[in-house]
């Protein structure tokens, strides 16, 4: 579930004469791997979104997030310039260290072209200058980020097959059939690599979750934001849940999937998925109030979500133009630790209204 819809909406506002015709997301179309690991330039937006929990050598937890967005613009197809901004590549990266008390994050954006920024088809292979995310033939992802305050080189090794979200990868986001995306996740990725801060590289290991999602028409006009969580469960299972919210906070659309360690998936729709705020945190920078601690019900299961730290707000007004909360979160069930994942809260800051 991600933030880029903002871009698309604006992009469609008609700055261009002869915009390219985009493909719509339709149900019943099966995902085709490995091609679908790669980019889908015929759809308006696409993202690869890796989040996870790392452990440092001194046994401290560290959250990380890497996101590469691809946006097909409405650029005039008659424009023969190699600089014509047909595709934009945007990347966010963040580290969440409770010892610091807030997120460290960085962002980049560029038009695709000249081999400097691209999202290749065929397999996951995204690049923005010196930031890369690439899936090898063996299925292992390598990502490299060179930020101002931090750098990291991580290797994400799958331990399970991809988890197709919704109806075999067709994931509805709203009441209308076109409001949907193709969406699969790679949960329970084993992470190894190094994180460098203040010039000091540190070896880390942990687990991560990767989402890959592409769509052309994503969100209902009545929705102002969403809550999303993706978590690797301690027992080897994986949980994904989201709800689209109206302006008054009521859910417009919700869905959840739970895959157990044996690969058996349970889908939850509509009223079966409920997010209940338990504690709010107000950002001193933007004044936005986020429900950083939540109770999530999926059918009869009740999960409690607790943030690694309260301040995991990400101000990306320089690239995607949005302010949101994206944070490492622990899950408990019946008071017992159940897993670790990431919670995303959008549409809470006034700045979301563009």
């Amino acid at each position: 579930m991600r933030i880029v819809w903002l871009l698309c909406w604006l992009w469609a506002s008609g700055a261009f004469a002869a915009a390219p015709v985009l493909t719509q997301v339709v149900p019943g179309q099966r995902l085709n791997f490995p091609a679908d690991f790669g980019a889908h330039p015929d759809y308006r937006t696409e993202w690869w979104y890796a989040t996870g929990w790392l452990t440092t050598p001194d046994n401290k937890p560290l959250g990380f997030q890497v996101t590469f967005f691809r946006v097909t613009t409405a650029s005039d197809s008659a424009n023969t310039s190699h600089f014509a901004p047909r595709q934009l590549i945007i990347a966010h990266a963040a580290l969440s260290d409770p010892a610091l008390g807030h997120l460290q994050h960085d962002q980049k954006s560029a038009r695709a072209g000249f081999g400097l920024a691209y999202a290749n088809v065929g397999n996951t292979d995204v690049k923005l200058d010196r930031w890369t995310l690439k899936r090898g033939a063996d299925g292992v992802y390598q990502t490299r980020i060179r930020g101002r305050e931090f750098s990291f080189d991580l290797r994400l090794t799958p331990s399970q097959p991809p988890m197709l979200q919704g109806d075999h990868g067709y994931s509805r986001k709203g009441p209308e059939p076109g409001q949907a995306s193709y969406y699969y996740s790679e949960p329970q990725l084993r992470v190894s690599g190094t994180v460098t801060r203040n010039g000091k590289p540190v070896t880390v290991s942990g687990s991560a979750w990767l989402d890959h999602e592409w769509s052309t028409r994503y969100m209902d006009a009545r929705a102002v934001g969403w809550d999303w969580v993706g978590a690797n469960l301690a027992d080897g299972g994986a949980l994904m849940a989201f709800q689209m919210r109206r302006a008054d906070g009521s859910p417009l659309w919700a869905h959840a999937s739970l895959r157990d360690a044996h690969g058996k998936t349970t889908e939850f729709d509509g009223a079966a998925v409920q997010f209940k705020p338990r504690r709010y945190w107000r950002s001193p920078r933007t004044g936005a109030r986020y429900p950083v601690a939540m109770e999530l019900r999926t059918g009869s299961l009740v999960w409690r979500l607790m943030p690694l730290q309260d301040d995991q707000e990400l101000d990306s007004r320089l690239s995607t133009g949005a302010v949101y909360w994206e944070g490492a979160t622990t899950l408990t069930r019946d008071g017992q630790p159940a897993g670790r994942g990431y919670l995303e809260l959008t549409g809470y800051a006034g700045a979301m209204k563009l």
Binding site: F16, N79, H82, F114, L116
Partner: protein, 837 residues
Amino acid sequence: MGWGKLNRWLVWGEWRAYPLRALTAVLAIALGVALGFAIDLINSAAYNEFSAAARSLAGQADLEVRGTQPTFDERVYPMLATRAGVAQASPMLELEASVPGQTSALKIIGVDVLRAASMTPDLVGVAAADKPFDTLADDAIFLSPAAMAWLNTRVGQQIQLRAGSRVVSLRVAGGLVRARTGQRLGVMDIGAAQWRFNRVGQLSRVALKLTEGVNLLAFKQALANDLQGRLQVLQSADETSRSASLSRAYRVNLNVLALVALFTGAFLVFSTQALSVIRRRSQFALLRVMGVTRAQLLRQVALEGGLLGALGAALGIAGGYALAATALRFFGADLGGGYFPGVQPTLQFAPISAGVFFALGLAVALLGSAVPAWEAARAPAAQALKSGSEETALNRLATPWPALGLMAIGGVLTLAPPIGNLPIPGYIAVALLLIGGIALMPRLVGLVFQALQGVPTRRPLVMLVLSRLANAPGQAAIALGGVLASFSLMVAMAIMVASFRVSVDDWLAQVLPADVYIRSAASGNTAALALAEQAQIAGTPGIARVDFLRLSQLNLDPARPAVALIARNVDVSTAERVLPLVQAVAVPADRVPIWVSEAMVDLYGFTPGKTVRLPLVGQWRAVVVAGVWRDYARQFGAIQMRLGDYRRLTGDTAVNDAGLWLHAGTTPAQAIARLKALPFGAALEYAEPGEIRAVSLKIFDRSFAVTYLLEAVAIVIGLFGVAATFSAQILARAKAFGMLRHIGVTRRQVLAILAAEGGLLTLMGMAVGFVLGWVISLILVFVVNPQSFHWRMQLHVPWGLLATVAAALLLAAVLTALIAGRSALSGSVVRAVKEDW
């Protein structure tokens, strides 16, 4: 009575007695200082504004890579972006977009906003809140406030710009809030700019930000080595120095003119002080007798001069500031020179420069008082106490050797090469000739009028005039100095400008041989004619022959302004028919010939017959200099090559201009009407040679407007000098006139004597001034101009103008003498002689 009080008393007494003279000296110094300071202020304001604008365009970038031509292949960009040590690379396409109906172009920078945002934030357009992606839109442009005002448009409206032979319409999507006042600039998406203006695949520059810790100079050197001169690596300081060198020669020349005014001021202080000392000889002698030491007397006279200088310099600083403000407002930053387009500088008081000019004014005044002060202190008291010993005071000036020595040194200096590309030795030679000429005046006056005295005459008044002039040449010469200085400079400037203008006029006739000229646009580099359009023009009935011309720019040296590259049809064997050749050599048929302007020889050593390399489209091409031609249009150099060679070497088949030869029976008007009927014809600009010539000469005159102004100021100062010296002399000679009245000479006759004296002296001054001015003009024409602007010209003396000015000066001098005489004779005859008891 203390010496300090006496000091004050002496100074004040002198000034109160002769306020006009003191005032004139003060004003002269003030004018010189004001002119110098104003020119300096205007130049530094323009220069600062220009560099600030350049810096704002360069932003945070450490280095900039530019082509040798206006654009280069964009494939360089990813190479630079991925080079080790580069943190960020921002590609840019710079255009001078031709605007229909406007004579100047709009600078447009195509940027990748996502790359430019952090490096050159000034180049990020402010999009409307509901259209944030207009910065990437391919139909949008962001305009600076000055550009919006100039094009009379606002956000939401469309503007029309020329691309090739067509017109592109762009939507004004927003402003550039950080553009500088007066800066005309448009910013659009780089992809859109490439596409809309037919520049796909081309960039103008790539700005680089280096990774922290990378050694800038080492990186620059290594990159420059790798690029092998096909592209240039610049720091923003290089850009500033380039823009500085653009106008340096022009600025220095203006400053020299200001110094001339100051020099005339110095001379006025000298004449004021000299005459005042002479007149007070007996007063000073008395003081000496009363026990005042020589040193004290020396200080006294120096103090008087210093006070005049300080007063004048202070007035000059204030006046200069006011003058600069006025000139900036009415003439623009380049004073009509055209060096700083699109810049609207704000005036800022410059303390250092103010200090320098104040000191200069003061020093000049002290210098002017030095000789009189020394003379006052040196004179033997007993001799000086006697009446009528004034002339002995000036005997020293009659020695011709120092003056001749100065002139000889000046003559030798004209042979010296320029210093730092500036004709400093030439200017020093001019100054030495002037000083020498003035110093030689007493001797000359004495010689000439003594010779005239030998001519037998029976009219006593004539005898009186001639004997006076022959026997008191020192005082006469001082009166003359002002006339001499201003007239000789006027003559020199007039001859120089006239020579230049006549040469330019002849040259224009030579370079405009066709019947009709067409241009794709009045300015800018986005309008052009493609091959098909060229064929349509050539095929228009009534047109016998077309000479197409491609004009572009070539950067041969990062520190210098670009040279013009002109491609046209030139027949090697008859090159002189289309080019104003001054030199030609034979070139083997298998080599590519080029013809270079004189500046290319001076600046780049492109001598005839030499094989040189030109960086064209990223490759070094060997060409041979087949000839040198005269070019008054581009002082930084121009290269002409054959259109066929140019097309073969660059692949660029477009042209900007064309000269048309018509069949007999077709009038230019008919041809223009037929061309206008072509599909692209209405957008072109048409001109007949006569119109181009008229416009060119108008531009020429405008660029010399400031020179004319300074010249006029020099003459006015000279006249001030004449007036001041005459009145001083006449007052000093009140006794003599009183005596003449006693022996029966009428008041009218005395006035006639004065008028004759004034007229003759001025005539003499003008005669010498003309000779001196003519010599100085030779230096200006044959030394200073070639060294500053790298063009040469034939000498042409504007007799009519010189005669008019001479007559006016003569009339003014006679009138001045009469007015001064009337006031001197207004006192009672008895009182005038009473002093001489």
